[in-house]
Symmetry: D3
């Protein structure tokens, strides 16, 4: 199985960390191909960044489709561009946000999310509602850490995340914790051991769910909202992408 993991921001060091997390989580016989666009924002913190990383993300998806791939993982916790990617790709696509919510629902009746910045909470709440799993989520919390600070040695990121986890267990009646950023992937094991509840990070969850879909021979339904793009006139730089996608 070949799984394409795309980090929609342009920070290569973060892509490397995501790729490592994906490989750690992947089952036997799975090849992880990780990449990121070369155009767009260095991190995704709010709706503006989200919207403008999508063209680069879709180009990566299209390139991986042409190269032959069994599934795509979008490694931004906001599940940025997921609908468009599903419309574009023949292979199934899994977002790390939705993956984490689905997996958490299998091991906990109720979970809380700990993400980076409060400005991302509304987007995550909308995704939870769309996925249908909002009722399983007690609360989305922000540790108030910029995304790229997660990579900084000596930052207090882990301490802040741990503090929110403590509050989630005490105040939200959370039975599990979802880490709400691709950059938090390598904290999951340590935090789970510390707090004694499942701590789910989305990169691994998405890779494993992508494997499940591949193994079951399932692809995105092309009836409904994820139908392939219709052929039509396009102007500007996205025309080739659109031409390749239309059916």
């Amino acid at each position: 199985m070949r799984i394409h993991v795309v980090n929609p921001n342009t920070t290569a060091s973060m892509t490397a960390g995501i790729a490592a997390a994906a490989r750690r989580a992947a089952g036997p016989g799975v090849t992880i191909l990780a990449g990121n666009p070369d155009e767009g924002p260095a991190s995704i913190e709010g709706y503006f960044d989200e919207a403008l990383c999508v063209p680069g993300l879709l180009k990566e998806i299209a390139a991986a489709e042409r190269a032959g791939i069994d599934a795509h993982v979008i490694a931004c916790f906001d599940d940025t561009g997921l609908d468009a990617a599903r419309a574009l790709a023949a292979a199934p696509v899994v977002g790390i946000g939705e993956a984490a919510y689905h997996v958490a629902s299998l091991v906990a009746g109720r979970f809380s999310v700990v993400t980076t910045l409060a400005r991302s909470i509304p987007a995550l709440e909308h995704n939870l509602r769309r996925t249908g799993l909002a009722e399983r989520c007690a609360r989305v919390r922000a540790a108030e850490i910029p995304v790229l600070a997660l990579e900084a040695p000596g930052s207090e990121a882990e301490a802040r995340i741990a503090a929110e986890i403590g509050r989630a267990i005490a105040d939200d009646r959370a039975e599990a914790i979802v880490l709400g950023c691709a950059g938090m992937a390598d904290l999951a094991g340590r935090l789970s051991a510390r707090f004694g509840v499942p701590v789910i990070e989305g990169v691994g969850a998405a890779v494993r769910l992508a494997e499940a879909l591949i193994g079951l021979g399932l692809k995105t339904s092309k009836v409904g909202g994820w139908a392939p793009p219709l052929p039509k006139a396009w102007s500007g730089p996205f025309a080739p992408l659109a031409d390749g996608a239309a059916k």
Copy 2:
């Protein structure tokens, strides 16, 4: 008052129709400035088109902000790019989809939507749920007309839309009808007279709600999901847009 109405697709004849509808609906003393991006899809029919019209749309929003404007209207019924535009703009932004739902809720307990293609139904249903007005909507129906066919003389578009309206009143217990495409704006009056129920089109609704916000001195809250973009490194063609937006 100066209201910027942006058609996010590249079809200038459709922009002209939207501008005319906006001017018909506008109150005294309102100047409508209408435009469309010069890059992107000729029509918006599904998530892929939606995602890739957003960069062009945001450039139009940014240009209008610089030129001085009191409010923006996004004239695509999917409310494409609305969150990113609200994060970017200082002036308030109204989507024609949400505008139609809010206005319909003031004159009908329950309404149905008649849109173009079935592939757009899921996106509209998600927007209804986000707006909070999904409970007021009996059903989203598709007349199965391509967007640009709405402009074609001699098409059967109006007949098909009328047929769906008839079904909505008979089967959905709809008390009003929302027309689910910017290209349907000039049908509203005729169809309302024919069926004896309010028929709401979004362009006029959005212009009038934008006037209301301007009149009340209200702008988008910058606390939460619509906070301005954070300054950060950007690569590629969106960097200038991002630099102008970041605060």
Copy 3:
């Protein structure tokens, strides 16, 4: 445009304040006709007062209809009598509660309401649910001020309201505030400046939404729950009102 603003309680000084707020908010060319019943409670604080102000309110609506009017605004935040008024009137009717919720939803993802007394919270929560906008409301808070104390010079009303606004921003993640009483209309501007978030008061919001409906040529749907009263036998003082209304 002629807009009828009816204060459903009998306190003429409050009606004068509401009329002033309506005129401040109204667009060019709008005439505000404000009034109140001469029978009923001096303020509306709970379900009992609400129910018994409705006959007087409906008489005012009927009189304004006969005098020729383009829209009605019901200036009690509980949206008292709104359904019956819509059934009675040919012109559109807007409640200040629903108006504030709709307008807040256009500038904030999430808002809190600050009303007068805790006994009114359940009625406001029901209205939010009926409108469909309950999901957009983080919390309804009470400042524990009697309605008529809002008019008393030197009262601590504004300080108490401000305290609740502070809590709403800090604890509810509110991005905007809705002031939950017609008597609070002139506080909105000052409180918005102080807290840096939109503060919406319903009288202005309703006047501007009424203008929007008039401008769009929209009236209440007469199919469904707001159909005109059926002709039937009536006893007692409401018989003339009913006879005038039945169709």
Copy 4:
């Protein structure tokens, strides 16, 4: 136990039928005191009638309170005036609509309602949502029979109601039927026998639930929305009622 059953319309023959149904359903040792206002509409068909029957209804409630009573039943399926009556009365108050929904939920996973006119459907749907039992209701159906036609010998009322019940069982997956008008009370037994599912009428259900509350020593909570009216200035005919009620 003394239970006051108030028919909020002025049709004495309908009050007699309701009283008979109440007495048939009542347990041993229960005295039914039935009455109706002498001012108001002859039947309640929509929001306008609903609003204007409330003053007469509240006078009846107040009179019964003074006479000494253990509980009140409001015998209109729209649960007209229920909130105001609960604020006014010391004794518990049960509406026949909510009573029927609660009882149906104890014998069926899912029920449909068959009411008189389609114009009443929205009000019943709102009540179902307020009660919390909307999810248990598959559909509210209208047999399109005016309320007073239920009393007319030789009307086709029962046939039309039966036709809707047949559709509810076949199409709605209804496991029980709620009859949505006080005037349908004596049809329940016959229709239940005919269709082989529980058919619940609200007058009996409400009397039995009122007995349950009395037996358990429970009264309306006076904390929250049903707190007693506050003392204040009143003008006009309701002043004595308000004075008696305020605490």
Copy 5:
């Protein structure tokens, strides 16, 4: 009327307490037959205990059916085995949890539940959602008292329950309290007097609702999920029970 009250755990002293509470609450002419299985757990604290008390519970239900009974009450607040019992029994079946929620909804707009252990909260929340009354419930609280400690003289159970009630009124805006364990039945009167709000215990509520169903001649609908068991092959000790039940 003969009402069978079954305590699904094996603690006879608790059954005696439940029987006493049932008799206190029952109306004139009602005979209470109380019992418990002789196989199963001594108390029900979580899903495992719940699942394994059901066979014994169903045997008790079947035996009471054969002996002739008018209704069954399941006296565990988790409403353990309620669906299976309804499928098995011809007589109506009422759970004490659902009974308490329905009754509380008639005297309070909003209630909180105080149960024994936090591990039971998820089950109660699921039941509230199934019943449809979750929206009426502000919060389910646990006093952290083991079930059988409720019987221990000198325990601090009542003090802990009272502390949670105080918090529910202050923090949840609860207008009434539901006691969430059959073993708390005799505290209701004292706590209601102390806190000045209705305090509902489920045993009495269920007995009175069972009387209501009997009085109205209503039985469980046999169309849908509560249809009688189908005849089929059974192995092991439940075969006779299944044979007796199948239709």
Copy 6:
């Protein structure tokens, strides 16, 4: 990895079919251990059968735990006994119903379920609501086939299921189909090819999700509703099971 698949009914031929489906779906290096209780019903069709298969099911779970296992799959589409099994087991437990809903949500915006008998629809609807994925499900349909008829050669089972799938795509706007019975597992591939939409069967979905949990090192949270059984007195045949489980 060793995955225990338990068919909660006693029909060994059905267990064999389930085991075969599980092995077909399993990834490399996965050993499937399939079994069924020797006591209980031959098929599970409704709440009564569901309740009485649970003791046998839990004994199988406990035995597999003692034998050493990495995860359990409960192969009844009603997810019978799932909560009790999660409380009992240290290894994670996945129900085939929930597994199918989660997997369908990754490849379709909206799905319909086709199950065996209408009497099972309410239980599936409750599970959908508990899982949180009810909003993703358009409708639960019954093909009206007894469970064991699925195994009968020459039955019209597949034709009836196909007919419901056709209706689901045409009438429910279903983008994927979930087959609602463990006995339908081998129909999925053929029906998916025929209808051109993903058809998900739960046994394979659950095995693949169980692999995902094992691969991620995740186990059921023991904080909350799935905490281990408390030690207590037990009478009768379940005492040893309870003693082994309590912690």
